[in-house]
């Protein structure tokens, strides 16, 4: 077996990390995972249940690692990863729907029913808004971070956030009136 040449990660620029990972540097891929995991989780959470998203994050990164050699433009990694995440969520929806819900604790705090209810409301928003809002409100990313990671323009992210927030306020208002 031909051993790959170990790659030193000299730069933490995303494109350099991607190129290093393409050359077989798992440390570089590990850094990319740490930087992009929340984004992937947020994209998934816009489409699948909370418990499914957790498992699917790993699958997305596994797919990404296996297909990384096919990515020509290292600067397009974020957008490319978003597509893999969307496809993975769609695949899961096609394959099966679980018979039980597996819920997870994050950050030591059990997500109560209210959090999951608000998530359900977020998931009903138009696709562009729900992804951006989940990345902002659930994953804690700022607008500029969302733009950098996903490859969207800052203007698009800003518009999605503002319009999405307006819709979620209306939806929450309706929900509370129904209670």
């Amino acid at each position: 077996m031909v051993a790959p040449t170990p790659v030193e990660v000299h730069s933490e620029e995303p494109a350099a990390l991607v190129r290093a990972a393409q050359r077989g540097d798992r440390a570089a891929f590990g850094i990319l995972y740490e930087r992009y995991a929340r984004m992937v989780h947020g994209i998934l959470l816009a489409r699948v249940s909370y418990s499914e998203a957790e498992d699917l994050v790993q699958e997305v990164f596994l797919r990404a690692m296996q297909q990384l050699h096919s990515l020509r433009d290292a600067n397009a990694f974020g957008g490319w990863l978003v597509k893999i995440a969307r496809h993975s969520a769609a695949d899961l929806r096609r394959k099966f729907r679980p018979m039980f819900e597996l819920r997870d604790r994050g950050g030591g705090v059990w997500p109560d029913g209210q959090a999951l209810e608000v998530l359900t409301i977020l998931q009903r928003l138009p696709k562009a808004y729900r992804e951006t809002l989940i990345l902002r409100l659930v994953e804690g990313m700022t607008g500029p971070e969302i733009a950098t990671r996903t490859g969207l323009t800052p203007e698009s992210v800003r518009v999605n956030l503002c319009r999405g927030m307006k819709l979620i306020r209306e939806a929450l208002g309706r929900e509370s009136r129904h209670e």
Binding site: G42, L62, F100, G106
Partner: protein, 337 residues
């Protein structure tokens, strides 16, 4: 709405956005290297050379045979090692796998909850611990998965546990009592009001809440009440009047119900009477002991006087007289009466 805060979280926090952030924070993904499904992050990725691919094409059946031999040997060694091993090793940290109707197995870890729907059920399996079947409309949370202890919490619904881990390693909390497996198979139910029941089909289970403990052997059952802990265990083949009266006594300390229990006790209901010795006082304890002495051949050192003052050695000896098993094995655990 403070758009500046929405955009980059600077400026005056928008209360509504901040509330949503706070509410949704527990759903946030925490990236940690162990969640990355890649073996040994930090090591270079191995690549299969053309030579290996070529060799695989040519020698695939021989390689397959060799691999199969390795697997068979591995299984054999695994059986030998597991038979020799008394306790789990760190590297064998039990991984619960959860199976739902027809779905692929998924790993679960502490902090996760399995919630079954109205018509669905799930099954947890661990090679080192055992199997837990989760009935519909149940909620089971994984609290801890340490090698010394597997701790779950049944918040509502029903589970059937078949445990082959060493005693005391499998614990299930309920809103009204904690079950500690002592090597057994049992069914545990928790109702919407927090009341529960435990039916033991094989082995032993300890049911504990604060200082109150019940030891339930095969064929026996025990009810539990929110705020009151485990009731007094009894055998499932006991007369209905006996079970009803015992339930009434556990519920509100009804002395007349206690009399019905004492009168209706059979020889094997010594189990129930033994538990009542530490749940009654004074005159009532004396009456329970009198009936216990009629039904069970107790050694001379077990006297009324010792029992009335709750002498642990006398209670141990009384237990041993039931011939349900020696107290030594669970004395190591903990005793609080």
């Amino acid at each position: 709405m403070n758009e500046k805060y929405l955009w980059d979280r600077t400026g005056q926090p928008d209360p509504e956005i901040a509330d949503l952030e706070e509410l949704l924070r527990p759903l946030r993904y925490e990236a940690s290297p162990e969640n990355l499904p890649l073996a040994s992050v930090g090591k270079p990725v191995s690549r299969i050379s053309h030579r290996w691919l070529f060799a695989w094409k040519i020698y695939s059946w021989q390689i397959g045979l060799a691999a199969a031999a390795v697997v068979v040997c591995g299984i054999g060694l695994g059986i030998v090692f597991s038979a020799r091993r008394g306790a789990m090793q760190e590297s064998d940290m039990p991984a619960w796998k959860v199976y739902a109707n027809g779905s692929k197995p998924r790993s679960v870890r502490s902090g996760q909850t399995i919630e079954t729907g109205e018509y669905s059920n799930a099954r947890l399996e661990s090679d080192f611990i055992g199997e837990v079947r989760v009935e519909p409309k149940s909620r089971l949370r994984i609290l801890e998965t340490r090698k010394e202890e597997q701790r779950l919490a049944l918040q509502r619904g029903t589970i059937h546990a078949f445990i082959w881990a060493p005693p005391r390693q499998f614990v299930v909390e309920t809103p009204s009592a904690t079950t500690i497996d002592l090597g057994c198979r049992y069914t545990l139910h928790v109702g919407a009001d927090g009341r529960g029941s435990l039916d033991v089909e094989m082995g032993w289970v300890a049911f504990q809440w604060g200082k109150l403990e019940s030891f339930i052997p095969e064929g026996a059952t025990c009810k539990t009440r929110a705020g009151k802990g485990p009731g007094t265990p009894y055998f499932l083949d006991a007369e209905p009047e006996f079970a009803v009266a015992l339930d009434r006594f556990d519920e509100n300390g009804d002395v007349r119900a206690l009399d019905v229990v004492i009168r209706g006790a059979r020889q094997r209901d010594g189990l129930t009477l033994w538990h009542l010795l530490s749940r009654t006082e004074g005159e009532e304890r004396g009456k329970v002991f009198a009936r216990f002495s009629e039904l069970v051949r107790i050694p001379p050192e077990v006297t009324l006087e010792k029992v009335l003052r709750g002498d642990p050695e006398a209670l141990d000896a009384a237990w041993n007289a039931l011939e349900l098993g020696n107290t030594d094995w669970w004395r190591e655990w903990k005793r609080k009466w």
